[in-house]
């Protein structure tokens, strides 16, 4: 019997567009997403695929020229005092409600570059205390003590001394730890990490990811990772959503996506990743470039770059098809239609996945 999963975030049919001088850009086109308590989901995709925009909408942080055309982002939580379940649609909230209720307090975010997300003119102690004083009206002393605790939680030694430091006095990895401490300061339920390690070294990257995992276990956080690094995804995620041109094209558990990918775009992503065993002469690249979202897209957005594209791909956008035998695995590709011709993934990728399965100890049923 599966454990009862508690849903925290439910996004349905989210559409977001931006008005620019070049016309309306449809950045997100009908995204569905679920996040359960204590679980980690990852959103993977190229730049411009709409992964950051989706999460910014969750935080209510869209740029001024952006707007949510339709859809809902439902947030569920239990009230702190009465303990009754509550639900709110983030899309309907006013800016004031967002600022006082959601941002920081319920959902917190860790950004890519720790240098630009910290204030260079404030000591880090002040920056960690600020949200607690603002949101929970804590006294300075309480906030100070909590800040010390947080610094220890994120693995910073000599916490008391560090409170007086300025961001420029710390290394990149340290700064990112501070950002995480700030994000955790108001005890959020959801943590959104937007490429948290892209600006960091590999050695520090591993440390930061392990840190986030540790904290997640301790605090039962739900985490959303946005990244284009499949290695990071493999390390942290429970569920993976592959995004392309504003749509989620494949979603499933981590094993389903990595060992049994079905969408040609996911095949391309997995093939183009250099792993340490590759010895081919040339890295695989997905041909072509992502579509211009300012123009209307006819049919499947990936069709022009897809060597397996069917005729129907050029005319109609594929719906989400369930992969037979799985509850979580869904693919938006006409290839999954029962009447579609049977298409196998490229030979090189198949071999590579087999090798991966062997190494990971996965048995074929």
């Amino acid at each position: 019997m599966e454990k009862q999963r508690e849903r925290i975030l439910k996004i349905r049919d989210l559409n977001i567009s931006f008005k620019t001088s070049g016309g309306t850009v449809k950045a997100v086109r009908g995204v569905n997403l679920d996040l359960y308590k204590g679980e980690t989901i990852a959103i993977v995709g190229e730049s411009g695929s709409g992964k950051s925009v989706t999460t910014k909408a969750i935080m209510g942080l869209l740029a001024n020229n952006g707007q949510i055309d339709s859809g809902m982002i439902e947030y569920h939580w239990n009230d702190e005092y009465t303990n009754e379940p509550k639900t709110v649609d983030i899309c309907q909230l006013s800016e004031k409600e967002l600022q006082s209720e959601i941002r920081g307090r319920k959902i917190a975010m860790v950004f890519q570059d720790p240098m630009t997300s910290l204030n260079p003119t404030m000591t880090i102690g002040k920056q960690i205390m600020e949200p607690m004083i603002y949101h929970y009206k804590r006294t300075k002393k309480e906030a100070y003590e909590k800040a010390l605790e947080l610094l220890e939680l994120v693995g910073i030694t000599d916490a008391e001394k560090r409170m007086k430091n300025y961001p420029h006095q710390l290394s990149g990895g340290m700064r990112q730890r501070i950002v995480i401490a700030i994000a955790l300061s108001c005890d959020p339920y959801v943590l959104i990490c937007d490429e948290p390690t892209t600006a960091l070294d590999v050695t520090i990257q591993a440390k930061i990811l392990e840190l986030i995992q540790d904290i997640q276990k301790k605090k039962e956080l739900s985490v959303i990772y946005i990244t284009h690094d499949l290695g990071v995804v493999a390390k942290v995620a429970d569920y993976v959503n592959v995004m392309y041109a504003g749509k989620i094209v494949e979603t499933g558990t981590i094993d389903e996506i990595f060992y049994d990918p079905r969408h040609p775009y996911t095949w391309g992503l997995l093939s183009s990743m250099p792993d340490l065993d590759t010895s081919d002469d040339e890295l695989y690249t997905i041909p072509g470039t992502p579509p211009n979202l300012a123009q209307d897209i006819q049919g499947d957005a990936f069709a022009p770059r897809n060597e397996f594209a069917l005729n129907i791909d050029l005319r109609e956008d594929p719906p989400m098809f369930d992969v037979p035998g799985s509850k979580s695995h869904q693919v938006a590709s006409w290839l999954m239609h029962p009447n579609a011709p049977k298409v196998e993934m490229p030979e090189t990728l198949r071999k590579r996945l087999e090798l991966m399965k062997k190494k990971g100890g996965v048995k074929d049923e």
Partner: protein, 307 residues
């Protein structure tokens, strides 16, 4: 194989004097060789001196000590006019951020042709144009692109322009300083493929500076691992990846995330802390492991690590 190395770095030191009492030893005595048509990958964490090494070699800095021999000529000290010309034409650099390194107010044509302009390497206007078009074609852009401005291109295309600019002088050595770090994964693969393709055609040597080990493994023939300004381990790509000796190299290799969830979920990266490890780089000497594989260690350390 008795070929002359295109670049030989001997005991290069680059110090920066911050104040009267404090000197930063960014690069502290490193030596390596690059053969024509080969790629040498330099890896290490930020602050290990990889970029400084690249910049000292192309003489953006004046090296404190040591020798840099490029094409048989010593370019580490004061250079004659001819030597300077050789250096400025036959060694080129590709930078990390393709937006920051292209002048936003000039057209691509003028950006790429700048080297030609400075060294007067064309006969007339048509010749200049022809050379630029050839380069654009080499990097997979088309003629029309020459009359646009950098902001009209995507990140990957901009990096191609940077590559075209470097190759127009027909260099023998290209220093690529984190040339692909700022790009998307799928674009990275395109740019790396392109660089490999051009290398096959022109037999240019690369000094490839990066912190992404999986890409370095893919593009390099030889790898040098830098830490705190010391070259702690060097060898062919296979030697380094199959048989890493130095604990720092091991920790670097263990930190690479593998796109394989079942393996990745159970792996903890190895930690390496210079201060608590008891290793002193200054006491270490170069020990030969086998072939071209060297590691920096004292005799006892070497015996312990290779046991």
């Amino acid at each position: 194989m008795n070929e002359q190395p295109i670049l030989e770095v001997k005991n290069l030191k680059q110090y920066f004097k911050v104040s009267r009492r404090f000197t930063v030893k960014a690069v502290d005595g490193i030596s390596f060789k690059i053969m024509p048509g080969q790629t040498y990958g330099l890896v290490g964490e930020s602050g290990s001196g990889k970029s400084t090494t690249g910049r000292s070699i192309i003489r953006l800095y004046k090296p404190t000590e040591g020798e840099i021999i490029f094409n048989g000529k010593n370019i580490s000290g004061n250079m004659s006019k001819d030597e300077l010309k050789l250096l400025r034409t036959k060694m080129q650099m590709i930078f990390q951020d393709p937006m920051a390194c292209l002048n936003p107010r000039r057209k691509v044509m003028d950006i790429i042709a700048e080297g030609l302009d400075i060294h007067h390497e064309y006969e007339n206007e048509q010749d200049r144009e022809k050379k630029v078009y050839e380069m654009l074609e080499l990097v997979g852009l088309s003629k029309e692109h020459a009359h646009r401005y950098p902001h009209q291109f995507s990140g990957g295309q901009r990096q191609r322009i940077g590559i075209a600019r470097a190759f127009i002088m027909h260099p023998q050595l290209i220093i690529a300083d984190e040339a692909i770090s700022a790009l998307d994964v799928s674009i990275q693969a395109q740019v790396v493929n392109l660089m490999k393709k051009i290398q096959k055609k022109t037999n240019t040597a690369y000094l490839f500076i990066a912190h992404d080990l999986s890409m370095v493994k893919y593009i390099s023939d030889h790898i040098g691992v830098l830490h705190l300004g010391h070259l702690v381990e060097t060898g062919t790509t296979e030697e380094i990846f199959n048989n890493p000796i130095h604990p720092y190299t091991k920790s670097l290799l263990s930190a690479i995330p593998e796109p394989n969830p079942r393996v990745e979920k159970h792996r903890k990266s190895q930690t390496y802390d210079y201060e608590s490890s008891g290793i002193n780089y200054l006491e270490g000497t170069k020990h030969l492991v086998d072939g071209t594989h060297y590691v920096l260690a004292t005799d006892e350390e070497f015996a312990q690590w290779t046991r």
